[in-house]
């Protein structure tokens, strides 16, 4: 499919998809960078910094597709209103100082979802999406393996396991918002147009079917794991937190974070952002 520039539904569907993809990556990276010069060791610092840069790079690839739709760069990041960001509330959660289990658990929950959703984009009818998926997948395997390697080592210790369990309890409901719609009608269009070949409900079910058995194999309790055995795995409204992010509703931490990363841009009175690199191919 080539994008019909006059079809407003198509444009809206593509924009919504790119924003939810890009915003997740951007905000997650923003949080990861808080661990720079604060990770448990110099080596783990280098690794997480790299993951942050990968995710930011992926955000840039998705945002770049918005430029095709006529967006200007400032309105994508620095001049967009805070309540028009559509990332999942999982990625905006603040870290407690020293709680290394949080970025690790967050990364695991996120990267499983990322792997699944990239797979649903491989055959996208929008060729640029399909093309970029391959590049991004090349970097995502490391992220997931990194999270799992850490998880397996952390749960081998009593204190580590208790901390991991707390992080799972805290983050799991937020992770479910990864499968919430920006707008239900637009989400239908995304699938109907073939931009993505699975529904959010299907992706949520698949995610649960991967994450729950894995966490249980580490002898961790998973909130809501009782869903299995009724009619399979499913994300239900009762499992969701108050703010889901996708619809523009965010937790308190988001406004502080947003304030911080847009500070310089506004303080200097900029009306465009610095471009070092050309547009990605």
């Amino acid at each position: 499919m080539t994008l019909d520039p006059n079809d407003l539904d198509e444009r809206e569907a593509l924009a919504a998809l790119c924003k939810r993809l890009g915003d997740d990556e951007f905000v997650l990276a923003e949080r990861y960078t808080e661990w720079q010069v604060r990770s448990p060791s110099l080596e783990s610092d280098l690794a997480l910094s790299n993951i942050a840069q990968d995710e930011l790079g992926h955000a840039r690839l998705w945002y770049d597709l918005l430029i095709d739709l006529g967006y200007e760069e400032p309105e994508i990041v620095y001049e967009r209103d805070a309540d028009e960001w559509h990332h999942s509330t999982l990625v905006e959660q603040p870290f407690a100082e020293g709680d290394w289990t949080d970025p690790i658990v967050r990364s695991y929950l996120y990267d499983v979802a990322e792997k699944l959703r990239l797979a649903t984009l491989e055959e996208s009818t929008h060729p640029k999406i399909a093309d970029r998926v391959g590049k991004i997948q090349g970097e995502e395997n490391y992220h997931l393996e990194h999270a799992q390697n850490w998880l397996e080592r952390l749960v081998a210790d009593d204190e580590g396991k208790e901390r991991v369990q707390n992080a799972v309890d805290r983050l799991f409901p937020y992770a479910l918002t990864l499968f919430e719609p920006v707008d239900p009608d637009v989400e239908d269009d995304i699938v109907d147009l073939g931009l993505r070949d699975a529904t959010l409900a299907e992706m949520g079910e698949e995610w649960l079917s991967v994450v729950i058995p894995y966490l249980e194999s580490l002898d961790l309790d998973v909130p809501e794991s009782g869903v299995e055995g009724m009619d399979g795995y499913a994300v239900t409204d009762e499992m969701l937190p108050e703010h889901v992010g996708r619809d523009g509703s965010h937790t308190e931490a988001w406004s502080d974070l947003f304030e911080e990363f847009t500070h310089t841009y506004h303080d200097l009175g900029r009306d465009q952002s610095t471009k070092i690199m050309g547009r990605p191919e």
Binding site: T33, T264, Y265, D267, K275
Partner: protein, 313 residues
């Protein structure tokens, strides 16, 4: 090997971990490399808020990559220091956390805003790179090897810093004015980066005699000013009136040392500079907060290297 032999043989990459070196050499080299490594960490700590505060995605990526590189340099340098057998990395990081570890004067000063970033990322990194390039010829082979990789990477830092300065000085009037103000605040500290002049330093320069240092403070300061004063001017920065700097008959830059605040410099050097304690303590808190992870991974009280004494026998 006695110290006289060390001095006779002293040359680029002359000594390696297999050599039987006197404690005096090993201690001096440890002190120097530890200082360098600590400076990488504290420089990274100072710059890290600007990953978040960067005014574009490109700058954010570059700042993250730069801070990552500095941590990588710390990793290389602590390892090079460890090979001397005097201190472990953990001991050096603990000393840094507890306020005993020393590091570069410039990284003690707090930074408030984006306009200050090129002061570190361009001028201080430019100064550091002048010095580091000479250390590829240091006599401790592992240190020289670390410098190979550091110098390979560091060109990106300096050019990135220059690019930020270029953007600011081509920006609005307010950006230019605020950048000039930041420059005036940082300029004396940047000049002090290389320490007091050689004829004023009271102790005999042992590090030069044993080949650890390859250029004197004076030579390095000269080389820095020769290169970076014209660059500052090119971007429209005015060199502040004080400290007085002037060109001598040979066209080289000379600094009036008495115009600089050496009391402050030595207060800073001893980790007693009040406004800078927040950085030392902030990093210490961060290190302490993840102590539990190191315990989980390595096990409580495990000796360095993670092997029990029995297994090592």
């Amino acid at each position: 090997m006695d110290i006289e032999t060390v001095k006779e043989r002293a040359g680029p990459r002359e000594f390696s971990p297999g050599d039987d070196l006197p404690e005096e050499y090993r201690k001096a080299a440890t002190r120097m490399i530890e200082f360098h490594a600590n400076s990488e960490i504290m420089g990274a700590y100072l710059e890290r808020p600007f990953i978040r505060q960067a005014p574009s995605i490109d700058r954010k990526l570059a700042f993250s990559a730069k801070v990552q590189d500095e941590i990588g340099h710390g990793q290389l340098l602590y390892r090079a220091a460890e090979t001397l057998g005097i201190k472990t990395r953990e001991e050096m990081l603990d000393d840094l956390a507890e306020g005993r570890g020393k590091f570069l004067n410039c990284f003690h000063y707090p930074m408030d805003g984006w306009v200050e970033t090129p002061m570190i990322a361009f001028f201080v990194d430019g100064a550091a790179m002048r010095r580091q390039a000479t250390l590829r010829r240091t006599s401790w082979e592992p240190y020289a090897h670390a410098m190979d990789k550091v110098c390979f990477e560091e060109g990106f830092h300096v050019k990135h810093g220059e690019d930020i300065l270029r953007t600011l000085m081509n920006g609005s009037r307010a950006e230019q004015r605020r950048t000039q103000e930041a420059f005036e605040e940082w300029w004396p500290r940047i000049i002090q980066f290389f320490g007091p002049t050689d004829d004023k330093s009271t102790h005999h320069d042992f590090a030069a005699d044993v080949g650890l240092k390859q250029m004197t403070n004076d030579e390095l300061r000269q080389a820095f000013l020769d290169m970076y004063v014209p660059k500052a001017r090119k971007y429209g920065l005015e060199i502040p009136e004080y400290p007085r700097v002037s060109q001598n008959d040979e066209g080289r830059w000379v600094v009036e040392e008495d115009d600089l605040d050496w009391d402050e410099f030595f207060t800073v050097a001893k980790n007693n500079y009040e406004p800078g304690l927040g950085q030392i303590n902030g990093r210490a808190r961060a290190q302490e907060a993840v102590e539990w992870v190191r315990d989980v991974i390595e096990g409580d009280g495990a000796p360095a290297g993670g092997r029990s004494p029995q297994a090592a026998d």
